[in-house]
């Protein structure tokens, strides 16, 4: 059976939310994986959840990147396994160099928690295949270090390879400075690697899975993954 694995680092705090979203809302099998584990056999998609791994001391994601599980995650990704990093998980992925660039302090210099509109830039990935291109989503953000930064060369490559999957936008889909909550270059909210199996995003799809929470736009992201995994198996 294809299963999601949710890595639990010391200081992760969205691990249970991801588990609830996948297992209770979508009724899809998922396990928690303790960060001292070294084996990811049997998992089809590994999630690095949000939180403050190791208190985000030193630099966000910098210590978690050396957790025992991370070499398994790197190998898993190299073999084509799906790795999704949400918020702090995205930060860990950049520290582990599974994704390019870095996430630095928000331009307003403080933590921001709010509902945010983002635009789907590309639907050619396991994470976005059920979305429409240019679809506008309502997804919460909650971070202090979400400002995506990379040098020009890297940004050009991301654009050329269409690795930018989500951008912050206004309610009409406009990619404007005013709609950019944290100062990210080119309003980047989420990017994948060149092979498109590793994806990191700052917004929290697990926080908008049910009507009572105000938005269900996060569902399509997880449903895309499930659809992709089913297709791979059918092949």
């Amino acid at each position: 059976m294809m299963k999601f694995g949710i890595v639990q680092f010391p200081g992760s705090n969205c691990d249970s939310d991801c588990y609830y979203a996948i297992n209770k809302v979508l009724r899809y099998p998922a396990d928690m994986i303790w960060h001292k584990e070294k084996n990811l056999d049997g998992y089809a998609c590994v999630i690095l959840p949000g939180g403050f791994t190791y208190g985000d001391y030193l630099r966000v994601g910098a210590i978690a990147r050396y957790s025992p599980i991370m070499s398994a995650v790197v190998n898993f990704a190299k073999k084509g396994g799906l790795v999704l990093g949400i918020c702090n998980g995205f930060q860990v992925l950049t520290e582990a160099q599974l994704l390019p660039g870095a996430l630095i302090r928000n331009s307003c210099l403080h933590f921001i928690c709010q509902n945010q509109t983002i635009r789907v830039e590309n639907v050619d990935s396991p994470y976005t295949k059920l979305f429409q291109k240019n679809q506008i989503l309502q997804i919460p953000i909650a971070h202090g270090e979400g400002c995506y930064y990379a040098d020009k060369e890297t940004i050009d490559l991301l654009e050329t390879n269409q690795q930018i999957l989500f951008r912050y936008c206004d309610s009409n889909g406009g990619i404007t400075k005013e709609a950019n909550p944290n100062g990210s270059i080119a309003n980047i909210a989420g990017i994948c690697n060149k092979e498109r199996n590793v994806f990191g995003l700052m917004p929290h799809p697990e926080r908008c899975m049910e009507d009572c929470l105000g938005s269900i736009d996060g569902r399509l992201l997880f449903e895309s993954i499930i659809m992709y995994l089913k297709e791979v198996i059918l092949k």
Binding site: P10, G11, F52, F111, C113, H204, R207, L213
Partner: protein, 731 residues
């Protein structure tokens, strides 16, 4: 250190230096049958401080109702517990961290959050929500801005990291809190019925284990520091403020929730105020046991700490767990899994004596009872202050009324106590744990209970100005308003936790205020059937000899049986009808308007008829349950005009309002008469709505209609939503 201490002992009445009275010192000598040594003096000094012993308030607090069929645990444990009929029980507590926050605002507020979280998870409960009730001095002063920004930063730093959503609270500015800010933090948690852990030590021979951070020299004497007035030298007390490590706390939460599942865990207690001293003696007292502790086994952050420092350190993120003898392995390996330091530092005894040893030498030996319920009670004088009569005078006829209130409304909207607090709560993660279905910014926050249709509503309330003018009435209003906030969301008020913030009890004015407030709370809580299940008292809130406005802060929880039946404050549809439930009177005493526009802080607070209040709240909940309301909003500070403006801005709709002119225009717009709720109703529901109201005999009037993009009130106000929103958001 030693030499100085001995010199101190030779001074006449040296016990004053320990904040103990002559009477108390002789009481100690009697209890020990000898003179105490320095360590013992330190222990008595902190344990008999108001913060730990409630010596000034213990007898008064007994007046508060604490029982109901749904109360599982009242005051006396780390937190109160109620049963709302879901799989898990609700655990709730509020606590103050005023003095540390005044001296070191960032860490003071952060460790305030850390402390209240520990009160919740030591019970075996998962913390699910935080609320903060904050009071600062004059908004315009730079120092206030520094305190305000730092406190908000500290709360965000700690709460965001541990992954507990901060869903509500209040932020009030008033000169009365200049130099003595208030930081009251409330936490709510969930625990399975059979998994509640008590904070006690029993069973001779059982092991006492200290877990979490190493013990350092920070926060020594913090509880005693919290129980004296702040003064010009208080900045030198900065070492008495602890440093918070939310990451360590997060690990402690996870580890303790695992420990709570183990049968061999007898008791769990946070090392809070007064550190090891209070946690050890309180656990022993609750279990009617003694303890024998070896200090050399305590993991220490610094070399050369003496017994006094180890016992009185308030290093954060530490807990005591009592475990059955010879069954420590599972506990120790769980702690190892979470990379937490731990050490067996002693054992439970049956002699009811707290024995402290260092390298096998006895350093202190104190009967446990003298540190708990046997502590002396302070008798205080209470006298109604003479100045109150003059303060209560207000001649409305001497105040100008105006023809045009546009600028006044805009001024009020951008005033410190009324402007949008979004910039604050945007810095708090209020969504983590995915339960928040009404976020901060409404009358109350609402959280769904996963696995059921039920939800809880949470709010905090407390008006220092009302309590200054009439403490009894101010306290009653705090409870009524909190209950009204919940009822506006469709929630039935269930229970209260409180923080009582007052001046020094030796001041007969302050003590009178305290007694009056407790009487008021008691009457209103009894009436609304909202028992007070936990809380704390913070006295000595003074600066330069002047007490703060008496400020009881109440946190209230309400139950929503089906989270599909709730209501928010924003206007929803054009042409919805706007009604006022309740009545407005010629009341301006103690209002925000009076202070802001006329610079007057006088008069009497609004009248409050508890029966009327209850019937209006009951009706509001019934209307929400029948799905007859599109919106509901409590009329609170700033009156009808502010409530209407907030509903307009929230929904991006205008409104055309015609208020009755049988009272003064200023009272009509900005008066703070109690028991009023503004609701909107779809035209198609009009008949059913009015039928239900008439049946309940609740006074109501249709005051207008949702329309356009302006708020128009009689000929007094005509403002666009855009104008109002800009003022309200201070853009």
């Amino acid at each position: 250190m030693e030499a100085i201490a001995h010199a101190n002992f030779r001074q006449k009445k040296f016990w004053h230096r320990w904040n103990l009275t002559s009477h108390e010192y002789h009481f100690i000598c009697q209890a020990l049958n000898r003179k105490p040594n320095e360590l013992e003096m330190g222990i008595f000094s902190v344990m008999w401080s108001e913060h730990c012993s409630y010596k000034n308030t213990r007898s008064l607090l007994k007046m508060l109702p604490s029982k109901a069929s749904w109360v599982v645990q009242g005051p006396g444990e780390n937190a109160g517990v109620i049963d709302i009929g879901v799989e898990e029980l609700i655990v709730m507590k509020m606590e103050s961290h005023n003095h540390p926050s005044a001296v070191e605002p960032f860490q003071g507020a952060a460790t305030g959050v850390g402390g209240i979280l520990r009160d919740i998870f030591t019970m075996g409960a998962q913390p699910i929500a935080l609320l903060d009730s904050l009071r600062f001095g004059d908004f315009k002063q730079n120092h206030t801005q520094y305190l305000f920004q730092s406190v908000v930063g500290g709360i965000a730093f700690y709460g965001n990291c541990v992954g507990v959503p901060t869903v509500g609270g209040e932020t009030i500015f008033s000169k009365s809190y200049q130099g003595n800010i208030l930081v009251n933090v409330m936490c709510v948690g969930l625990v399975k019925k059979e998994k509640i852990v008590r904070a006690l030590a029993k069973g001779a021979g059982n092991s006492v284990i200290l877990i979490g951070a190493k013990t350092g020299r920070d926060g020594i004497g913090g509880a005693a520091f919290a129980s004296v007035e702040l003064n010009g030298q208080s900045d030198e007390d900065r070492p008495a403020v602890q440093i918070g490590d939310p990451f360590a706390e997060k690990l402690l939460i996870e580890a303790c929730l695992e420990l709570a599942q183990f049968k061999e865990v007898i008791g769990l207690q946070d090392c809070g105020a007064a550190g090891l001293t209070s946690s050890l003696s309180e656990m022993a007292a609750r279990g009617k046991s003694g303890m024998e502790i070896e200090l050399s086994l305590v993991p220490q952050r610094e070399a050369g700490m003496n017994p006094f420092e180890i016992m009185l350190s308030e290093s954060q993120e530490r807990m005591i767990v009592v475990v059955e003898k010879d069954k420590e392995n599972r506990v120790l390996s769980t702690l190892k899994k979470w990379d937490l330091d731990c050490a067996i530092i002693g054992k439970v005894t049956d002699d009811e004596i707290l024995t402290i040893k260092n390298h096998n030498q006895i350093e202190a030996s104190i009967p446990v009872i003298t540190l708990s319920e046997g502590a002396p009670i302070a008798k205080r004088k209470t006298k109604k202050p003479k100045w109150i009569k003059k303060r209560n005078q207000l001649k409305l006829e001497q105040l100008n009324e105006f023809d045009d209130y546009n600028q006044i409304l805009l001024d009020l909207l951008c005033s410190p106590n009324l402007f949008s607090k979004e910039e604050i709560y945007r810095q708090y993660d209020h969504m983590v744990q995915t339960n928040t279905i009404i976020p901060p910014g409404d009358d109350a926050a609402v959280l769904r209970m996963k696995g059921s249709k039920k939800a809880i509503a949470l709010t905090t309330e407390g008006n220092g100005r009302y309590c200054l003018l009439n403490p009894f009435q101010g306290a009653r209003i705090a409870i009524a308003e909190a209950a009204r906030n919940l009822s506006c969301k469709g929630a039935i008020p269930m229970a209260v936790t409180d923080c009582l913030n007052f001046g020094a009890p030796e001041n007969s004015d302050s003590y009178w205020q305290l007694v009056q407030v407790i009487k008021g709370l008691s009457e209103a809580c009894q009436f609304f059937e909202t028992p007070v299940i936990s809380g704390n008292v913070s006295l000595y809130n003074e600066n330069e000899g002047k007490p703060i406005d008496p400020t009881p802060v109440v946190g209230m929880i309400g139950l929503i049986n089906d989270y599909n039946q709730l209501c928010t404050l924003d206007f929803k549809n054009e042409n919805d009808l706007i009604f006022l439930l309740g009545e407005s009177w010629d009341e301006l005493g103690g209002s925000e308007y009076l202070e802001l526009v006329h610079q007057l802080k006088c008069g009497v607070p609004p009248t409050l008829d508890l029966y009327k209040e209850k019937s209006i709240q009951f009706l509001c909940r019934k209307l929400i349950k029948k799905d007859l309301l599109a919106s509901a909003h409590d009329c609170s500070i700033g009156g009808i005009a502010i409530a209407l403006a907030e509903s307009c801005i929230g929904g991006s709709f205008g409104a055309e309002i015609e208020l009755k002119t049988d009272i003064r225009s200023d009272c009509s717009l900005f008066g703070e008469s109690q028991s009023r709720i503004i609701v909107t109703v779809k035209p198609s529901n009009y008949n059913q709505f009015t039928k239900m109201i008439r049946r309940d005999k609740v006074p109501f009037q249709q005051i207008g209609i949702v329309k356009g993009d302006h708020l128009k009130i009689n000929h007094w106000v005509n403002l666009s939503i855009n104008q109002m929103e800009k003022a309200w958001r201070m853009m």
